[in-house]
């Protein structure tokens, strides 16, 4: 039974990892990377490492997402500021 759960979680984890690289929207990619951490924490639990599973669940799945989102919204703010000030640097910003 635990072998079945392990294999299914692993396949989902790999497809989530590939999706995190190929989804166009960056925030969606961040969410997909969070799902990879969720599945990894279940795998850590199956192989008998509950401490690691707890850390991965708390840090990988929640706090990393939050840190990514803070940085991304700082970039969005900088982009908006650039637009409002109408600076001449017409390079493409961000994604």
């Amino acid at each position: 039974m635990s072998m079945t759960i392990l294999i299914v979680m692993g396949v989902l984890m790999l497809s989530g990892g590939i999706a995190a690289l190929y989804i166009k929207d960056t925030v969606s990619a961040i969410v997909a990377a969070g799902v990879v951490s969720l599945l990894a924490s279940v795998i850590f639990l199956i192989v008998g490492a509950p401490d690691v599973a707890m850390t991965e669940a708390a840090i990988g799945s929640a706090l990393t997402t939050v840190v990514f989102l803070f940085a991304w919204s700082r970039i969005k703010e900088a982009e908006k500021e650039k637009d409002t000030l109408e600076s001449d640097s017409a390079e493409e910003g961000g994604e």
């Binding site: 690289l21 490492a49 970039i75 994604e95």
Partner: protein
């Protein structure tokens, strides 16, 4: 197929996905996401090495008495190493993200091609 083998293969494949993203993406944010995937893969390899056949968590309670632990519990040393590595991974990710934000404010672009000074 056994559990060690599956976990090791999963870790290797996830590391390869992370490497692939790190080498092919040009966007700094995608590179950081790939780095965190690579991180998770390496952690999984380290945990997989410490697994023992039929092993359970190395924590003593009603279900696991002190005297009969040998041969039943997994290796506690990789768990301890990965535990600290995950926390360091978060701090390093935050540091990389602040570099990315600084690059954006000075170059107005998130592409790695915008940073030309160190290119040769």
């Amino acid at each position: 197929m056994n559990i060690t083998q599956i976990v090791l293969i999963l870790g290797f494949l996830l590391s390869l996905i992370g490497f692939w993203g790190l080498l092919t993406r040009r966007d700094l944010f995608r590179m950081i996401i790939s780095f965190s995937l690579l991180d998770t893969g390496v952690h999984m390899i380290m945990i997989g090495i410490g697994y023992i056949k039929g092993g359970t968590a190395p924590i003593f309670d009603e279900a696991l008495a002190v005297g009969e632990a040998v041969g039943k519990v997994v290796d506690p040393v990789p768990s301890a190493l990965v535990l600290t590595a995950i926390v360091i991974g978060l701090a390093v990710t935050a540091l990389m993200l602040s570099y990315a934000v600084r690059v954006y404010t000075s170059r107005k672009s998130l592409s790695i091609d915008a940073v030309k000074e160190l290119k040769w």
